[in-house]
């Protein structure tokens, strides 16, 4: 009798649970963006989130929880209830470089999440001030090697995208320049335009207008294909540094244990957003790479996270950078 009751209760729970999942979402969904509002990740989250809200029939509310290179917000998201009402927009830093940068990290990017899907890739460019005599990436590489002791690289703080991606650039080039830290990309770019510092690596979003206006020089874009936002800038493969392939990708994650039905629903909404013409147009204007159908699946994202953690950890450890 008792076991029968338990079975009925369990069944009722299961049905109730299944129903809750099929009705999902019944209230607004919070998307944690682990950076300040207005930055590249925030903008991608808002553009994609806006269309996803329409598909889901519930508003996706962006909550900016900035701090510690994005790990504060992701930690909070990882510990949230796995009911699909808290999701987060992670990126290359929080789910790739963080384990190497933060020895006391409270989450494991490869294990503590239910990946939803890749939202956008944001290619990295190598740029310099106009006064550098080099015209191509090859010339710049020669110049950098010859003047390594005089060279100043600007980045947006230890652990930032510009810092990690340039760490890899410097390592592949075999140079140890002076690295000048700024509080964010804005001030770093200001000093690059003004010629106070020599070069930088950064996300395409921040750089397109400056390159088009001719206030700084772009040597190469670190992707396999050229970008429609900057059709004249050659890829690193064309320009002679084929191993330098980096992107500050943005992807949606849910906490580990989020029911598969909910993840599927979210992934479906994300995929619809990425197929929407207006959303695509906005993302392309930013210079973003929109993943194709294969690249959007939860499985593809899990593979991306695994490979990124595996790739950045040795690079950053070798360079001796930790933030903590």
């Amino acid at each position: 009798m008792k076991s029968y009751m338990v079975a009925v209760a369990a069944m009722a729970l299961a049905i109730g649970g299944a129903q809750a999942q099929s009705n999902y979402p019944e209230r607004p969904v919070t998307m944690i963006v682990p950076f300040a509002a207005g930055g590249p990740t925030d903008v991608v989250a808002r553009i994609v989130g806006e269309h996803m809200s329409r598909t889901l029939g519930q508003q996706i509310v962006i909550e900016n929880v900035a701090g510690a290179g994005g790990t504060t917000g992701i930690t909070r998201g990882a510990q949230a209830n796995a009911d699909g009402y808290t999701i987060m927009m992670g990126h290359m830093g929080t789910h790739g470089a963080a384990p190497a940068l933060y020895p006391n990290l409270k989450y494991d990017p490869t294990k503590d999440f239910a990946p939803v899907g890749l939202a956008a890739g944001t290619p990295i460019l190598v740029v310099s001030k106009n006064a550098i005599p080099a015209k191509t990436l090859k010339e710049f590489m020669d110049y950098a090697k010859a003047n390594a002791s005089k060279l100043n690289e600007a980045h947006a703080g230890v652990g930032s995208v510009s810092h990690t991606t340039c760490t890899l650039f410097n390592e592949q080039l075999g140079i140890k320049p002076n690295r000048v830290a700024y509080r964010g990309t804005g001030p770093a770019l200001n000093d690059l335009v003004a010629g106070q510092v020599d070069y930088a690596c950064d996300q395409i979003v921040n750089l397109v207008p400056q390159i088009k206006a001719g206030t700084i020089k772009a040597f190469a874009i670190a992707t396999a294909q050229r970008n429609p936002a900057l059709p004249d800038v050659p890829t690193t493969i064309e320009a002679g540094m084929p191993d330098y392939q980096v992107s500050a990708w943005n992807a949606i994650f849910a906490p580990k244990g989020t029911p598969e039905a909910i993840v599927t629903k979210l992934n479906d909404a994300l995929s619809k957003a990425l197929d929407d013409e207006n959303t695509r147009k906005r993302l392309l204007e930013l210079g973003a790479d929109i993943p194709d159908a294969k690249g959007r699946t939860p499985r593809a994202l899990q593979q991306l996270v695994d490979s990124e953690v595996g790739r950045w950890t040795p690079v950053l450890k070798a360079a001796g950078v930790t933030a903590n």
């Binding site: 207005g38 930055g39 804005g186």
Partner: protein
């Protein structure tokens, strides 16, 4: 002539009447941009008055709405209105309840709140509105006429120049002191120390956080200011039950008299100039504006002792500087596409979401947006004056609310405001801790204003010092080799000498009399 044509384009963009479908009424032609500008200014004023809720939190909250507008100019005009509306509103709280909502209104508390205590709250609010309006108008003309050439000023300031500017700023802090110079210096040093808490930018190492997570990004300015000013002030007021000095005084005039206006005219002019110039600098140079203006007014006053005891010049000058700086800090954003402070970074995001990527070409590629923004600043300033002057009577009446009702409201709103800065509960607890600290400071006769300035400048100063030295490969002479930097350091040295001389002489006199 170009400028006039451009301004005409701007005004026509702002005054543009578009058919809007209103549910139930049908299609009505409305000047949407003007309405959005008004909404922005009104919301800005209101959130500026609420202690703690700053423009950053508000603009972030309103970002999703801008999606629905489908009109980039209107959306940006509204967000800009929130920003400078908040600068107006922030001085209201600074004057009435001694809470600086932003770094830029710290100075306003010094004489503004003293004026309120003397029953001159209306006059203080009035002169700050008038000064801000004048400064806003001038700054708008500066942006329209000189934005492009002024961009070069922003690029002239590298790390070395910036460091020297901050050194000069710290000397201002000494002059801010109402009482003992020694105590002021101690407070500046405390502020500098507080600014070193958090993750070090160059190495990524945590400093003075004791491994405590919430400290890893340092102490937020709002947390510190709200604690040592707002909460500590509440504690101090609670000591004396229901006999707050403000309540006992008659309200007095609501608007400044001719004599007040006469006394304020020159400070408003000087404040506008200083604020407009400092606002252009990258890295939040605008925060220095009000401090610089206050220092200047105190230095050239016939009787500097009136400052800190309700001198109207100490409100008029800094308030004008504040608003002029708020306006000209749009220059680097509009002409270079590079945001000079956190609010402008948010504006970049707002523009990007609207499909306009800010950069050097915005002026030529989106002239209606560029000039529309500029025209909206002038209209916005006019609106703020219209919104704020009638409100003065209302604000002053708030002072009549019994304190037992007032202080819980202040505390609740402040806590909400602080939480909204980073969505972090730990910040609220920190504020409470700083309240106790601030209260002990008051009891021991230390002033928090120089500490706040030290805190704001400390981080900028240290980071730029290290940047400059990394670039110069450790050569200290870099600060003297660059002409702008050298000039600023010399000015700082002279000012320090002027500040210290009287007290040195006085102590010598004291020695002789004994």
């Amino acid at each position: 002539m170009d400028m006039l044509a451009n301004l005409a384009l701007g005004f026509s963009t702002i005054l543009n009447i578009v058919p809007v479908e209103l549910p139930g009424i049908g299609t009505v032609p409305l000047p949407m941009n003007i309405i959005l500008c008004f909404i922005g200014c009104l919301v800005g004023t209101l959130i500026g008055v609420l202690p703690g809720v700053g423009p950053i939190a508000t603009i972030t909250m309103l970002l999703p709405i801008t999606f629905q507008l489908g009109n980039p100019t209107g959306a940006l005009v509204m967000l800009a209105g929130i920003y400078y509306g908040a600068q107006y509103g922030g001085s209201t709280t600074a004057i009435l309840v001694n809470i600086p909502g932003e770094a830029t209104s710290v100075v306003t508390t010094l004489d503004g709140h003293e004026m309120a205590k003397q029953g001159r709250a209306g006059v203080a609010l009035g002169i700050s509105a008038i000064g801000s309006f004048f400064a806003g108008c001038v700054a708008t003309i500066v942006i329209a006429a000189l934005a492009a050439p002024l961009t070069r000023v922003a690029l002239l300031f590298g790390p070395a120049e910036y460091f020297s500017l901050m050194v000069m700023g710290l000397i201002f802090a000494v002059v801010l002191a109402r009482g003992s110079v020694a105590k002021a210096v101690i407070m500046i040093l405390v502020g500098l120390l507080l600014s070193t808490i958090g993750t070090d930018l160059e190495t990524g190492q945590e400093r003075m956080t004791f491994g405590f997570g919430p400290l890893s990004d340092g102490v937020d300015f709002a947390v510190l200011a709200m604690g040592v000013f707002g909460f500590a002030e509440v504690l101090r007021n609670l000591e004396v039950s229901e006999s707050r000095d403000v309540v006992n005084k008659p309200i007095g005039r609501l608007l400044p008299s001719m004599a007040d206006l006469k006394a304020s005219a020159a400070p408003i002019l000087r404040g506008t100039g200083l604020g407009a110039l400092l606002g252009i600098l990258p890295g939040n140079g605008a925060v220095l504006g009000p401090f610089a203006s206050y220092t200047l007014e105190k230095k050239i006053a016939k009787d500097p002792r009136r400052f800190g005891r309700g001198a109207i010049e100490g409100v008029a000058g800094p308030e004008s500087a504040n608003n002029a700086g708020a306006q000209t800090s749009f220059i680097p954003l509009l002409t270079l596409g590079i945001p000079p402070n956190a609010v402008m970074a948010l504006m970049v995001g707002a523009m990007t979401i609207q499909g306009i990527i800010p950069g050097p070409q915005v002026m030529t590629r989106n002239p209606d947006l560029f000039w529309g923004m500029i025209a909206s600043m002038w209209i916005g300033n006019l609106m703020l004056l219209i919104i704020n002057l009638p409100l003065i009577g209302l604000w002053v009446k708030l002072l009549k609310v019994p304190y037992r009702l007032m202080f819980p409201a202040i505390l609740v709103f402040s806590c909400i405001g602080i939480y909204s800065v980073n969505n972090s509960p730990a910040d609220v607890v920190f504020t409470a801790a700083f309240a106790l600290f601030g209260y002990s400071l008051i009891k021991l006769g230390f002033e928090p204003a120089p500490m706040l300035l030290g805190f704001v400048l400390g981080k900028l100063m240290e980071e730029n010092l290290r940047r400059a030295l990394i670039i110069s490969r450790g050569d200290m002479l870099t600060f003297m080799e660059k002409p702008i930097s050298a000039t600023l350091l010399v000015i700082a040295a002279v000012m320090l000498g002027l500040a210290l001389l009287p007290s040195v002489r006085k102590s010598r006199d004291e020695v002789f009399t004994e």
